[in-house]
Symmetry: C3
Subunit: 355 residues, 3 copies
């Protein structure tokens, strides 16, 4: 497949600055791009590569919008495609040149086990050795790849992409276009016990999990069902690999939850919350809309909307930066204290003499 820069620009909604007739046959990052490739530049850090890249075309923001550049300093053989959101335009180009692998042709593999009263909409695929239990409903064009399990009474929307080797336990509800990667478990029991007589007695976990439209959940995640009620993942939220979501957690819309995060029971996240890698949240707290928590932070209290927190325990990031700066020079501060002590002792001694 190949397109001229002019044709590409049309498809991406970009404006061409020179080189509209150049033929593009592939897309690559600015460091590895070769002749015939389209690349992009969204971050000022990569600006120096503009002079050395082998790419034939570059998607750029208008000069002055994110950073300044001068057309005359860019090799004239490189076509420019000007776009307000170069990363998004590049994503679209990447999809053009690498269309996603087509899902398997609809059908139920003969080795799949389909229970009673299962609703299979048009275009559904269920792969080898999958188990779909009684009373499940699979929406139009939903794909369940090999060796996956969908427990009784679960409802999946349209165009979901599940598996292989995914476990969705009974009574789970998934919206449309939900993607779940391998080894992930939806609807495992919440972790709840009542102590009595020196032992831990299991609290029945009789709630469910509700996942909104356009949610993506990575590989190796565990999303527990609610004790009562629902564990909720809001529309458009994206979850990376090996993330733990405990019982009765409620996550808003369009959140970003990075790998190895753990969210304890009954904690609530607003919309557009970002949790970086390995963050831990205790239970029964609330994070407002647009909160960002930096990697490895431990959050033990509510966080108001629009805040950036970090550290363990997490505090406001600008405060935490000052604390960490002080900590990193603490050995010198301790020395300073000792020096002061000596000077004071000397002053005291002198003053005693003076008397």
């Amino acid at each position: 497949m190949s397109l001229t820069v002019q044709e590409l620009a049309g498809q991406l909604g970009a404006r061409v600055e020179g080189g509209g007739e150049i033929t593009i046959a592939g897309v690559r990052g600015i460091e590895t791009a070769q002749a015939g490739d389209l690349t992009f530049l969204a971050n000022v850090k990569y600006l120096p590569y503009l002079k050395t890249t082998q790419a034939s075309a570059v998607i750029l923001p208008p000069s002055g919008q994110r950073f300044r550049y001068d057309r005359s300093e860019i090799p004239s053989c490189i076509a420019l495609l000007i776009h307000d959101n170069p990363y998004f335009a590049f994503l679209q180009a990447l999809t053009l040149f690498h269309p996603p692998p087509s899902p398997p042709a609809p059908g139920i593999d003969p080795s799949a086990r389909i229970g009673k009263n299962v609703t299979l909409a048009e275009g559904v695929y269920v792969g080898p050795s999958c188990v779909v239990e009684d009373d499940v409903a699979l929406g139009e064009s939903t794909t369940i790849l090999a060796n996956s399990f969908v427990g009784r009474g679960s409802k999946l929307g349209r165009q979901c992409m599940i598996g292989p080797l995914v476990t969705i336990l009974y009574g789970s509800t998934l919206g449309d276009r939900v993607r779940i990667h391998p080894s992930t478990v939806i609807g495992s029991d919440g972790f709840g016990y009542a102590p009595e007589g020196g032992q831990h007695h299991k609290i029945p976990q009789v709630g469910g999990v509700t996942i909104g439209d356009d949610v993506e959940i990575g590989a190796g995640c565990t999303i527990d069902r609610a004790t009562m009620g629902q564990t909720i993942i809001g529309r458009g939220t994206k979850i990376d690999n090996l993330v733990q979501i405990a019982h009765n957690v409620e996550i808003g819309e369009d959140c970003i939850i990075v790998s190895q995060v753990g969210i304890s029971g009954s904690t609530k996240l607003g919309n557009r919350v970002t949790l970086a890698g390995q963050v831990g949240l205790i239970g029964h707290i609330e994070l407002g809309d647009n909160v960002t928590v930096a990697a490895q932070s431990g959050v033990a209290k509510d966080i108001p909307a629009n805040s950036f927190y970090f550290g363990s325990p997490a505090v406001d990031a600008s405060r935490q930066k000052r604390i960490l700066a002080s900590v990193s020079s603490l050995p010198e501060h301790v020395k300073a204290i000792k020096r002061l002590e000596r000077r004071i002792a000397e002053l005291e001694a002198r003053l005693a003499e003076n008397k």
Copy 2:
């Protein structure tokens, strides 16, 4: 299903204070309960809800046991069930109204693969596409759900509930009533290599895993086999999701291991140890009975019995609280040091003048 408060109280071993004739049809948390619901109150924090809850009945401890309350301040239309352990009584009520889903009817699915010399006690269920290798023994009423694997020579006790998609590797021993959730792996190789000639040479992992009665292991956990001997999880211990237990670890009875904890090789835990989320323990250390370690702590040394530790590195919690309080105000302490320095310099200058 519905019961009068009086009938319920009989089943839970509670004493009724008013409203014994009220009909209860469900159970819910105090914030979401509706008319006809039973709820409970175990924590003084939720006491204010007693005046606003829509519940028809509340399980409470005797006034003065955990906190004080006055019957006259609680709406008289709400029945009270007095119980020394309200949470445990509520668990029992929850089980009454939401009996656990009955396991599949006994039998071996025709797509399951059963090896030679396998002992299947009465009431065993083995689901679709499971593999049960040679010389395995499954105790009475044990259930292995779809797509699970039980390696050769493994012995499972009675009423175990395994899977779906669980892997139990060869030579593992499980007691009675063990529950293992999806994507968990029992008996993976310990992580051991001997360096020689600049490369890492795998140390054969020839030991096993022994799991006691009434242990529950969450989803996505990894429990490694011992290099030699056994990795041991004691009776009644409960393990949350995504927990890593390394080779030759020994965990006592009735422990609580919260999500994303990692325990390194050969470390030993006593009985009733609690490790909160994301705690890491180095290898070859011992934690005594009744130790609690707070979330995200990193433990690098033995911890004596009955201690509460936290931090990374973890120290006694009361000490750690003082340290963290000092750290959180460190920028101000650093300023104080600088102020002192100026005052001393001034004193020194004045004293020099005085001479």
Copy 3:
């Protein structure tokens, strides 16, 4: 099986000091060894056990090489096998007495699903309910255990040991003798989205994963495919359980990555890097050859070769030790500051009087 000490020494390349005729029937750690057992001693910490061990033979380094000992202080009934690398010699003895379980006899289980144009070299085994998609190549004597998935176009070398319940997604490349433990996922999508119109748009993940010879990957790991290009794990690298490797990460040769580590996108590791448990690395950084990072550290910057870093944020370990020592006594330093303040106030008061 049993061997004389002399015979064993021959096989291990060790020199015998007394007791060459003793018969050895097993191997065990120095604390648990019984009569008839061979054990080893590589660490001076265990030296006292030499006087109390029940073992019949001990592998030891030459006296003075790692530590000093005196033959006359060791019970003369214990045979000594002198070897420069006792741990490696012990590994070899362990392999002699506990040969690894032989893989299943070659063959394709009738319930396995083999796609079109699949190359199966001699000695390949594919277990029950495995799926091997179109255009896959499996090298000589490679074993795929039950319920595993190998996506289209993937190439596995010789003598690989995969599964059970492993997922290898499309287009992955594995070298020879690669071992992958259960519930691990190779080639899941990288976590990348471009924001536009307030929502997160998925960036197609069209790259692959390349794994070198002799790599071992534990249970429950997730290794993401590259956005473009390859995620790379170098020859001889060993990865423990529940490790997250993000898209476009490049790991060198002979690295050790301990359990629950997370490595963010595009980060590069040199050769012989060791990351201890629960370490987190941000994206787009580089760690040089022979770097070691201590447990729970968070790395946010490049680390030069041959360094030992720890802490969150990680700094040079000798510096971090001084910082942590200062932090651990911080409450006392704060008190010292307050004492100094009082003494200065007193000096100031006295000086005011003196005037």
